[in-house]
């Protein structure tokens, strides 16, 4: 029992990380129909900015948090402005390949800026790990879960209750119709890029204390986040959360009850199976018919 609980906690912590990254993929997809493979690099930029601002320059945590998120959002806007919008024939494949290129560029820039070594930062709160029925949970895990929940709630509010959010959804459903009705669709796309970059940066900032941050951390995290988004049904915020948590828990139960050398294999096999049974993902059913 104690072991099972520990596997569950470990899975939930990892899963919440995947969930926030999946959220970034999902959000951008629902607004632009674009999968941004540089999402993992936004996570990396968020984490490394925090390393520099919080540990390096000793700024207070909330300020370091805000500056990092704002900085990475600007990177997202620049990506959209310079690389995505300037494409003459915006075929989806072309755009996806551009994002892959952008991820390689960002990784290279980060390697030059922060070096090849890994960095670490201390936890947000210095509370010792919680002991629940013999299993331990890091306070930072609660930070991750809490902020993830807050981000999802805020996004839900944004999409359902604000005019801008509704305009963004309208733009996603039919860009042309939305722009005929007076929605500034280009600005919406830019906003979606800024927001998804910001969510990615938040993911990076949250996980920085539990893991080690390096210029090459984004690729694997981006891949896991992408899987989580697919698992939950890309385009759905709740799906991203469910997919992320599920992937995390499956991985850690796989380690616990089968073998740690098959960790990724188990998770990805289940992903294949779920997508075989439900091709649109767990929460994706409604989305498919929307277009």
């Amino acid at each position: 029992m104690q072991e099972f609980l520990q596997y569950l906690f470990s899975g939930l912590t990892n899963g919440a990380i995947y969930a926030v990254i999946a959220l970034g993929f999902s959000m951008l997809y629902s607004a632009t129909k674009l999968i941004n493979f540089a999402q993992g690099e936004f996570v990396m930029l968020g984490a490394l900015s925090l390393v520099s601002l919080w540990s390096g320059l000793h700024l207070p945590l909330p300020i370091a948090f805000l500056i990092s998120v704002a900085g990475v959002s600007i990177a997202g806007i620049l990506l959209e402005r310079l690389a995505i919008r300037s494409v003459r024939v915006p075929h989806p494949i072309t755009l996806v390949i551009i994002t892959v290129g952008a991820s390689i560029l960002l990784r290279g820039v980060a390697m030059l800026a922060w070096g090849k070594d890994s960095h670490s930062v201390r936890s947000f709160s210095s509370h010792p790990p919680f002991d629940i029925a013999g299993a331990t949970l890091l306070p930072q895990s609660l930070w991750i879960l809490g902020v993830t929940a807050a981000v999802v709630a805020a996004l839900h509010f944004f999409y359902k209750k604000t005019l801008t959010g509704k305009a963004m959804e309208a733009c996603a459903i039919n860009k042309r119709a939305a722009s005929i009705l007076g929605v500034p669709s280009e600005r919406m796309v830019m906003l979606a890029f800024a927001m998804s970059a910001a969510v990615g940066a938040m993911a990076g900032i949250l996980i920085a204390p539990v893991t080690m941050c390096g210029y090459d951390m984004g690729a694997m995290l981006g891949l896991k986040g992408f899987c989580a988004a697919m698992l939950g049904g890309v385009g759905s915020s709740w799906g991203a959360i469910a997919g992320g948590l599920l992937l995390g828990v499956l991985e850690s139960l796989g380690v616990g009850f089968i073998s740690s050398s098959l960790k990724d294999a188990i998770a990805f096999l289940l992903l294949l199976f779920i997508l075989y049974v439900r091709p649109s993902g767990i929460f994706g059913a409604g989305e498919v018919h929307r277009f």
Binding site: N14, K116, S118, S120, T136, M217, L221, S260, S261
Partner: protein, 386 residues
């Protein structure tokens, strides 16, 4: 890159020749001995190749300043393999066919070393590798030597310490990479020799963010100690997770994290961890009667004075390789077979990495004294005496 390297080497050679001072006339009279170097100077393994190249250049200058060998100055011809076996083969062929070197040191990593070993066997030219893989010199190839310690010695150091403390049951957690696999092989293979039983075997990916699941599984088997085998940053995450789970059994790390970077990454989670390391990391802590103390102190001082960067054990492999070659060159008149024979007879050569005793059966030549056990105490290394 190649042409700029040539220009650089040309300038370097010119400088070393002019720096010859009183021996310049003798040096001019004798043909220089050309020594090749192949290192991973750039790319992901540059942390190995860069200090190795710098060390080779430094030692060449030093030997030439003392008048070279039997009046012949040394000349270094260095190429960058970028850690790519194909490039290593190209450079090895070039060194032998057009540069006409009489001995080669490097490459920095095991895959590049194994790729070029057959070329040196065929051309009957001595190669002193700076890589760790046991396969480079086991089985023994007549012309191939190496200066880096085998993993087997690190495992022996850890297991000896366990034996002394009556530990019988251990859990191991290794990284899923060539380094981790080789470590696992040695850990499993040597365990019974020291009366140890491995009760849990887990692995992690180099980029994993959390290892609590693996450690929970190991804890369930109640081992008396845990060995973690990996290179940064994974073992630092393991250290943090061990602290989180409140695991209190002794934790042994491998020499793969024997750098200040590990302490920086793991913070106070690294406290009390034990690991084997080459003596260079703890040179200032060694007792004065340690045979390596003098050579270590000299190398560290020379390197940090010249390059203004911290010294590492990797540069030490090149330091030993070149000094070994230099020793063997004496009286050889540049004959490759004679250099090889002299290398094989090297006995009691005290280097940065350890004391080398080459024999026809052992072309690594290091003993267990090449590793010392250290403990991390208050964020600093401490020699383990008990």
């Amino acid at each position: 890159m190649r042409s700029s390297a040539r220009v650089f080497l040309g300038v370097l050679a010119a400088l070393t020749l002019t720096a010859g001072g009183p021996f310049a006339s003798a040096a001019r009279a004798a043909e220089p001995y050309k020594i090749g170097g192949i290192f991973s100077v750039t790319g992901p393994n540059s942390f190995l190749g860069d200090p190795e190249k710098k060390t080779m250049e430094m030692v060449v200058e030093e030997i030439n300043a003392q008048g070279g060998i039997d009046g012949h100055p040394l000349e270094a011809v260095i190429y960058d393999s970028e850690g790519d076996p194909t490039k290593a083969v190209l450079h090895a062929n070039k060194l032998l066919s057009s540069d006409n070197v009489i001995a080669v040191m490097g490459p920095s990593i095991t895959p590049t070393s194994l790729a070029i070993v057959p070329i040196f066997e065929q051309n009957k030219t001595p190669l002193v590798s700076c890589a760790a893989g046991i396969k480079i010199t086991d089985p023994v190839k007549p012309f191939v030597f190496k200066t880096a310690q085998n993993d087997i010695l690190a495992v022996a150091a850890i297991y000896k310490h366990m034996q002394k403390h009556g530990i019988k049951k251990i859990g191991i957690i290794t990284v899923a990479s060539a380094y981790g696999e080789s470590g696992k092989e040695q850990l499993v293979g040597q365990a019974s020799k020291y009366g140890l039983e491995i009760v849990a075997k887990e692995s992690f990916d180099a980029k994993d963010t959390d290892m609590t699941a693996q450690l929970t599984k190991i804890r369930k088997e109640q081992p008396e100690a845990i060995v973690c085998w990996g290179t940064n940053p994974g073992p630092a995450v393991v250290a943090k997770n061990v602290q989180q789970l409140g695991i209190t059994v002794p934790i042994y790390q491998s020499h793969g994290v024997a750098s200040p970077k590990f302490i920086e990454l793991a913070g106070d989670a690294a406290e009390n961890m034990l690991l084997p390391t080459g003596k260079i990391l703890v040179a200032d802590l060694l007792p004065d009667d340690d045979p390596q103390k003098a050579v270590l102190t000299k190398y560290i001082k020379d390197f940090t004075d010249k390059y203004k960067m911290p010294v590492s054990g990797f540069g030490g492999y090149a330091y030993d390789a070149l000094h070994l070659i230099a020793t063997a060159l004496k009286g050889s008149n540049g004959d490759r077979q004679k250099i090889r024979d002299a290398l094989e007879k090297v006995n009691g050569f005290v280097g940065v990495t350890g004391t080398f005793n080459f024999t026809p059966e052992d072309h690594n030549g290091l003993g267990e004294d090449a590793f010392v056990m250290v403990r991390i105490k208050n964020g600093k290394w401490e020699l383990v005496k008990d």
